[in-house]
């Protein structure tokens, strides 16, 4: 049991947790800035970025694809802003125009180019393939301290760990700046905080998290990770620190529980095959959010309290 778990389940679970936390951290600020759907847009445009990255370099290594995807994410944000301002089109519609078109472009490119040698197809782009992230070199828990085995672990794990460190470093380094500029952008500017640059940096960090997580869980489930844990956390507390802590907790819980339910739930129920782990994670994060909506202590918008 131990060996099999470490070989087959440990890595997908670890990667799920890393991805969920890396997305939830910037997700808190996106939520409060009314930009939750930027995560939606970015995760869609990761696909064309990856395809172009592959076509340009002809290489299936991860980094060119990640760079391509990050570039596409930044491009999409610039395009959305441009359409919003130059075309004077409402934000939601501008977003809808950009991410659907770029995603469509990605699909067409993918279908028209020879990517059969690569594990890159539209279904994976949509909902990932966590189950393939196995660690065959491991032969038990001991492998976690065995350098030779560690070198063979799926490359997504160390990559996501690096990304998580980066995201966390950004959020905690600029905590005060993010907090002030999210609450009151005009005031932040008057204090000399470069709020616009900071907002752009937040989007770039979001893009990096989305790109890294995309590899494992696909583009649409990334959206659940950006939105559901922070949204549920917002309904638990009125303190930003506590909210971020809850969101991390919910992200970890979604990843672990979602993976276990998808992997072992059907087997326990008497079926032969597991179901999509990424889908399971999104579903659990949704259930957590539903619970928070129904019983979260701070679920209601507070009105003005009249002083007696």
């Amino acid at each position: 049991m131990g060996t099999e778990f470490v070989q087959l389940s440990l890595m997908p679970m670890l990667i799920g947790v890393l991805a969920a936390v890396a997305c939830a951290l910037p997700g808190n600020f996106l939520l409060l800035r009314r930009q939750a759907l930027i995560g939606d847009a970015i995760s869609h445009v990761v696909l064309p970025g990856i395809v172009v990255g592959f076509l340009v370099t002809g290489s299936i290594t991860a980094w060119p694809m990640m760079i391509g995807a990050a570039f596409a994410a930044v491009l999409s944000v610039v395009l959305i802003e441009a359409i919003k301002r130059l075309g004077r089109i409402e934000a939601g519609a501008a977003m809808g125009v950009v991410f659907t078109s770029m995603f469509a472009g990605g699909v067409v490119l993918l279908e028209q180019s020879d990517t059969s040698s690569v594990h890159l197809d539209v279904e994976h782009a949509l909902y990932g393939n966590m189950e393939s992230l196995i660690w065959l070199a491991a032969d038990g828990w001991g492998s976690l301290i065995d350098w030779a085995a560690l070198r063979e672990m799926p490359s997504q794990a160390p990559r996501l760990a690096v990304v998580l460190v980066l995201v966390a470093a950004f959020v905690f380094t600029f905590w005060k700046e993010l907090k002030i500029s999210t609450f009151d952008e005009g005031y932040a500017l008057s204090l000399g905080i470069p709020a616009l640059a900071l907002g752009f940096a937040l989007v770039v960090v979001t893009a990096i998290a989305a790109v890294a997580a995309f590899d494992a869980v696909g583009s649409i489930i990334v959206i659940a990770m950006f939105i559901c844990p922070p949204a549920a956390a917002r309904l638990m507390t009125d303190d930003l620190w506590v909210q971020v802590a809850w969101s991390v907790g919910f992200a970890v819980l979604s990843a672990v529980l979602g993976y276990l339910l998808a992997g072992y739930g059907p087997l326990l129920a008497g079926f032969d095959h597991a179901v999509s782990a990424a889908g399971g994670i999104a579903t659990v994060s949704g259930l957590i959010l539903a619970a928070a909506c129904l019983v979260g202590p701070k679920r209601k918008r507070v009105g003005v309290v009249r002083e007696g």
Partner: protein, 282 residues
Amino acid sequence: MIQAGVRALRRGAGLLWLARARSQPSTGAGALDACPLAISGLSVSYGEKPAIFSVDVEFPSGSLIAIVGPNGAGKSTLLKAALGIIPKLSGRVEVFGKSIDDARGNVAYVPQRASVDWDFPARVIDVVMMGLYRTMALFALFGSAERQRAMACLERVGMADFADRQIGQLSGGQQQRVFLARALAQDADLYLLDEPLAGVDAATERAIMDVLKGLREEGRTVVCVHHDLATVRDYFDQIVFVNVRKIASGPVEDVFTDENLQKTYGGRLAATHIDKLRVAAE
């Protein structure tokens, strides 16, 4: 879009601000010799209509100044452009003889209350401590020293009992006092307030004016966008009439005249205002 990008780049330039924003020494008495806020040839537009056009005005030191004019006349725009929050089309702004970016440590801004989402997860004390931002190092978090300073500011506006209240639970007047306390925490020599008395109860109005007059007694300069002509004479020393252009400026007793009201508000509109003022005076 492109403008915004350039602006973002300019502001972000090498994250230099990080080095510069800290440890700005308070400018001290010497700097106060320079005019707190001098604006010349300032034009700003949203789209293709000027919001303000070619405004020249100097705000004298140690006084309480009202900016008045009809709705949409560019009063808030004037403050925001002076602070460099929105881009200007042309013109110059000098704060204590320096560019605004070099004088930020000495300017406190109170935006309109309605410009923020009060459902933000923060307590009253958290908002007031934001005013201490420039005194803090990059990684530093707000601690007990900051809390004490913020409490002192809350006491000045009579809100000390509300320090740990969620900001969404405040009434309009209380929100405005919290914003004022946040500006007090900045301990600046120039205060720019956007409609600080709009929609607040009478008690809050008195409390806020007491604080603002106190600031003036300490030799600081206070500029308010103001909408209530009936209280101008009681509250302010100086007045600036704005309606896209600067119409007139100077001491209230010299400049607050029917003629200037007429020029600012147009014939009929001014007539109703003037009538109201007469009634109020009697």
